[in-house]
């Protein structure tokens, strides 16, 4: 999408003469979304007539972010821990199961129904059980993050592992390559684009799910900050946390996306738009 927006710009200004328009264009690309969100925000304040603790002024939110930054930052670190551990386990389980299913196909028939069932149990019920089992700990919350995130990784990895071309597999067989050689040198690389696509989903949703889990059960983390702020009618703090969480999810998404482009062997192929 971003490439499509940039493309005409690049073709229009190959020389130094086009530098100023390019700078203006970049500034506009940043300013336009920020400006439109702010404009909607002010419009909502003026026309809704809602009290300031429901829709605070943007300046008030920034002030809360500045004044409470130590408190928010400490809790942010905790949330990152929950999200990070959960994300890691989502990948260990997702990729691990996909590889197991590939290596021992009967295990797929045994375990896939369980994975689908687990995927469809309401998370609230799962959280309750996990809190009963582990209490209010990092383990219980990261388990929720892992449960919410492993399924896209599993499904995409399974699909990706089937993406290798038959002629490549014949080639490996003719060379008497073992399972691991064929897997690591051919099939895994074919699967990378699909695995990266799963990370874009699981990576950014890990933060959101971690906050949701903290909101329900925790006494630390950004979810807890939201709870705490609500009880004290601190709408500004809720918005500040939302701002941080959104920024963080976006950052994770962008990082994964950028990393994905580096790992994707199809990148730079002119036949791919």
């Amino acid at each position: 999408m971003a490439d499509a927006v940039l493309a005409p710009e690049e073709s229009r200004s190959p020389s130094g003469a086009g530098r100023l328009p390019r700078l203006l264009w970049t500034a506009l690309r940043v300013a336009a979304p920020v400006g439109s969100v702010l404009a909607l925000w002010y419009l909502a304040i003026w026309f809704s007539g809602l009290p300031a603790f429901v829709i605070p002024l943007p300046t008030r939110v920034l002030e809360a972010l500045w004044v409470d930054h130590a408190f928010i930052f400490d809790n942010l670190l905790y949330t990152l821990q929950v999200a990070g551990i959960g994300y890691l386990w989502a990948n260990i389980a997702g990729i691990g199961l996909a590889v197991l299913f590939d290596l021992l196909p009967p295990t797929r028939h045994l375990l896939m129904p369980a994975a689908i069932t687990l995927r469809n149990v309401p998370y609230i019920a799962l959280i309750s059980v996990l809190v009963l089992a582990f209490g209010d700990t990092i383990a219980s919350k990261s388990a929720i993050v892992a449960l919410a995130g492993f399924f896209p990784v599993l499904v995409n990895t399974m699909q990706g592992l089937r993406a290798a071309d038959d002629v490549q597999l014949d080639r490996m067989r003719i060379l008497n390559a073992g399972w691991w050689q064929t897997f690591s040198r051919v099939r895994l690389i074919y699967a990378l684009p699909a695995i990266v696509a799963a990370q874009e989903i699981t990576g950014s949703s890990s933060i959101i799910v971690a906050i949701a889990a903290e909101w329900m059960i925790s006494t630390t983390g950004l979810g807890y900050v939201i709870n705490h702020a609500m009880q004290n009618y601190r709408g500004d703090q809720v918005y500040a946390v939302a701002l941080v969480a959104t920024g963080l999810s976006f950052l994770v998404y962008s990082l994964v996306h950028a990393l994905g482009r580096r790992l994707d062997w199809r990148a730079g192929d002119p036949r791919r738009g």
Partner: protein
């Protein structure tokens, strides 16, 4: 001893014969083309020789070894119609990849790619190469571990007619430099007569051998051989075998 011996090899899918029992002995350094209409079982036979598919009956030996053992010893090279070059590898690295997996270096990849007319293209990836160049890389990769037999499944079918003749002539000259026993599947009669020492002509499905036609002309062959009365007579004979059968059926 024959380089490849195919003894009473057949393949059935349920009640349907894909390949009626075939017997064929291929001498060391010989180039044998399997010719026939689509679906006659020639690719099935090639895959059985490659140990990529099991026969319903019969046995294949490569030299003294059963096909499975020959594959384990990496004595087979396979060239498919769609190139098996890995899309993320540069041409030269793809050739090295074969040698690394096989654990055997048949030749110097840089030198061979130069000989194959790919000088200056060694660092390119599949998508940056033309169809003809890519098929040359594919052949280089298939031969890189110095297999004793080369199995080729319609390797030039995706190329246009002129490219096809050009790459065929090039491959003929290459084989003179690095002799290999070749089993070559094609449905292109002229290509088979131009390249092969013998043509094994298959009937339409279920495939069985109609006739084995020898081409008594030393290889490599000059392009002028195409206009030679013997070429025209041989190609005409094979065409008649296939077309008469098809019309009778």
């Amino acid at each position: 001893m024959a380089a490849i011996s195919i003894r009473n090899v057949s393949r059935r899918f349920g009640d349907t014969w894909a390949l009626r029992p075939v017997d064929l002995e291929i001498a060391d350094g010989e180039f044998v083309a399997l010719v026939g209409p689509s679906g006659c079982g020639k690719t099935t036979l090639l895959r059985i020789v490659a140990d990529l598919q099991a026969p319903t009956g019969g046995e294949v030996r490569i030299g003294p070894d059963p096909a499975a053992e020959a594959r384990r010893k990496r004595l087979i090279g396979l060239v498919s119609q769609r190139p098996a070059v890995l899309p993320w590898k540069r041409a030269i690295d793809d050739v090295r990849f074969t040698q690394k997996i096989a654990g055997r270096v048949g030749f110097d990849p840089a030198k061979v790619l130069r000989e194959f007319g790919l000088e200056g293209h060694e660092g390119k990836r599949a998508r940056e190469l033309s169809g003809g160049m890519l098929q040359r890389v594919n052949i280089a990769s298939a031969m890189a571990h110095d297999p004793s037999v080369l199995l080729m499944d319609e390797p030039f079918a995706a190329l246009d007619e002129m490219k096809r003749e050009e790459i065929g002539a090039w491959f003929d000259r290459e084989l003179a430099l690095r002799p290999k026993t070749v089993l070559f599947v094609t449905h292109h009669i002229d290509e088979a007569v131009m390249l092969a020492d013998r043509l094994v002509v298959f009937s339409a499905a279920p495939g069985r051998v109609l006739e084995v036609v020898a081409v008594p002309e030393p290889r490599p062959r000059a392009p002028a051989f195409r206009q030679d009365p013997r070429f025209v007579a041989l190609a005409g004979h094979v065409r008649a075998l296939l077309i008469d059968r098809a019309e009778a059926a």
